[in-house]
Symmetry: C2
């Protein structure tokens, strides 16, 4: 018989809605027959090996609902990427505490951890049900129409560029902003959803799915500026040259690398500053401003898609249902139905684990610096209700008197 305790944890970067998934797990698990306790591990897998657990059976449902509406990872998170030995330690702790169901909310690295722990349990003949729950603002999990966390971050990016466009129209110049996303350009592409009028920015969108050339970039900016007298550019932090070297890495003096061996891209304004310097130096343009949207994209309190909220809640709830009734381990995935509804499925862990989805060619315009209508149709319903809108004065020009 499966042991009666449930464990849930959160891994990787926090999002606006990851606590919805947590609370979906906790409330649904608490109503399952035979569940003695629902534990939450503090700071992901690190909290598991340290036996650092909260007993969420003793948390009020009222407070859980309030936490669900709060961004960030309420249990704490980690960047640890466990190897086999680490996963064996995780398994020993789960066994020692009588955990029968393990739910891990995270991205593709987290799904890989779930896969290894699942294999360890099978090898040991220990009855453990392991379910991965999707989460990432990068939208880079394979097998998913989209991933919880991405729609809210995309909404933030769209609203940021819509506002930057209004600001730049009032005080013209070049405005460039760097958006998160190492390999997948979905979040950067979301900037296009900030446009309303024909001449609205962003006028140029640079994605990691396409090779980046500084010469081509400068020519694009110049052409836009010559045409409109201003130019707004969205740049993915992950842009790289045709040989695959990140543009950010070409300039950084000493590169910080994370536990996964990746160059640290966020938490610095260097890429935006470099590109602005190039524009000023090579094109001789005066008012050139660079921003890096930074951690606000995933953490800003008060910018959330209601569609994202309810789907994040449901993947948590579905995870428990699959865990108790499907008889197999897996990764919960979102499927799209019609225009627009969401449905869920349970994928084998090996199909999702450690793999990275990037933007489909059909979402990227032939120019390589814009998105297609297919992408707009894909993203718009995910942004949710109540998207703010921008309006303009209509021109009723007055005849000149002094210099007609």
């Amino acid at each position: 018989m499966t042991p009666g305790k449930v464990l849930v944890a959160q891994g990787g970067g926090p999002t606006a809605v990851i606590n919805q998934s947590l609370v979906g797990v906790v409330l649904e698990a608490r109503r399952q027959l035979g569940v003695e306790r629902v534990y939450g591990a503090r700071h992901g897998v690190r909290g598991i090996v340290n036996e650092d657990f909260f007993d969420l059976t003793q948390e009020t449902s009222h407070n859980l609902e309030l936490v669900a509406g709060t961004p960030g990872s309420a249990l704490g998170s980690t960047r640890d990427k466990p190897d086999l030995k680490y996963c064996q330690e995780i398994f020993q702790v789960l066994k020692a505490h009588g955990i029968g169901h393990f739910f891990y909310i995270g991205g593709n690295d987290s799904s890989d951890t779930v896969r290894i722990v699942s294999e360890e349990a099978t090898r040991a003949g220990y009855p453990l049900r392991c379910i991965h729950i999707p989460k990432t603002i990068d939208n880079d999990l394979v097998g998913n129409d989209h991933t919880p966390g991405f729609p809210s971050a995309a909404r933030f990016v769209a609203q940021a560029f819509a506002g930057a466009n209004l600001d730049n129209a009032a005080l013209p110049g070049v405005y460039l902003a760097v958006v998160m996303g190492r390999h997948a350009g979905f979040l950067t592409a979301a900037s296009a959803l900030g446009r309303k009028y024909d001449d609205d920015g962003p006028h140029l969108i640079y994605l990691p799915e396409r090779g980046f050339s500084v010469e081509r970039f400068l020519a694009d900016v110049k052409a836009t500026y010559d045409r409109l007298g201003r130019c707004i550019v969205a740049v993915s932090e992950g842009i790289h040259d045709h040989s695959g070297t990140p543009i950010a890495a070409q300039l950084a003096q000493d590169l910080e690398r994370d536990a996964h061996g990746n160059v640290q891209l966020s938490g610095s304004g260097a890429l935006a500053d470099l590109l602005c310097d190039e524009i000023k130096a090579r094109l001789g343009l005066k008012r050139v401003r660079g921003d890096t949207l930074g951690y606000l994209q995933r953490s800003f309190l008060g910018c959330v898609s209601d569609v994202d909220q309810r789907e994040a809640r449901e993947v948590g709830e579905k995870a428990v249902q699959y865990g108790f009734w499907s008889g197999r381990d897996g990764s919960v995935a979102i499927r799209r139905t019609g225009h627009y509804a969401a449905d869920y499925t349970l994928l084998p862990l090996a199909e999702v684990a450690g793999r990275t989805r990037t933007m489909e060619d059909a979402f990227i315009a032939p120019s390589g610096t814009d998105v297609t209508d297919a992408f707009r149709l894909y993203l718009r319903p995910l942004l949710g209700s109540g998207m703010p809108d921008a309006y303009r004065l209509r021109p009723n020009t007055v005849a000149k008197v002094l210099k007609p």
Copy 2:
């Protein structure tokens, strides 16, 4: 008799609510007896000397209401700071077009322009009523309890830090973000309103009203990190050493200066990056992230204080009422009543023009790195209704089994 045309213009940096003031002027002016036309100058004073006007009498009130709710300067703005000759040109255009009432929405530089134009009209014996309407996210106009645009920007900053605090609690480290404000620290201080629980960040707030020492800063960060295992820092872009040299200027290779001779502080991530590099190099801390809130602070579409919206609308409406009924030129100012209501007055232009307000000592904690309760009491009602709130899980720790 006063000529029957009204002119309105917008100057300086756009805000979330400057179009409320514009529409307040237009709708109130359109209902005044004897008003033939209401013109709007494109891009501030530059549009005036170029006779680049929209006839806002021919704009629907419906669209005006939609524009009022849109951030940015709907007429366009300018960074031009007119000298006497420029102001004389402005006056010649106003005369040629039969303008009897001139309303200019802007900060302290704009109020100075209104003052000079007013003096020119008086000297020429031309019946022109000139009213300055306050606007600035920096909150640095003297004679005002606060200025329209500041509350919405302050709300953005508070929400940004509230979210960054949740993110940083989940993945601990040092997080530093640079906030706009060259001489006045109000906007940086607003980060304190993002705190809820005792250990919430920002833990350190550096304002331009206090001299900045890198040594002291590093000691502050270390002490906070040692105490909490994490540290969130809010830094004003205008911080300077005790001799008055901006910290940003100490490191920038080639300084860009604006028309006012000021070093360009925004539109670059350099200051945040420098401070983060110091923390990494000198304190040996690993996870150090720097953001620059950048133009989002004043332009983000969808973060606005409803209190700010209605006050911005009213200063525009009051400006027209003062302009038509008070018999004198001046600058509209906001006064505070009770806890909390706003009232308005008309100040002499010379009292406001070209002067800069900074934070009162009573708003800054003795440590120099925090705000006082007086500041919280001052700012909270301005942030408006519906401020998002953050909630936590309450600790119910589980006993360890393997390593008790």
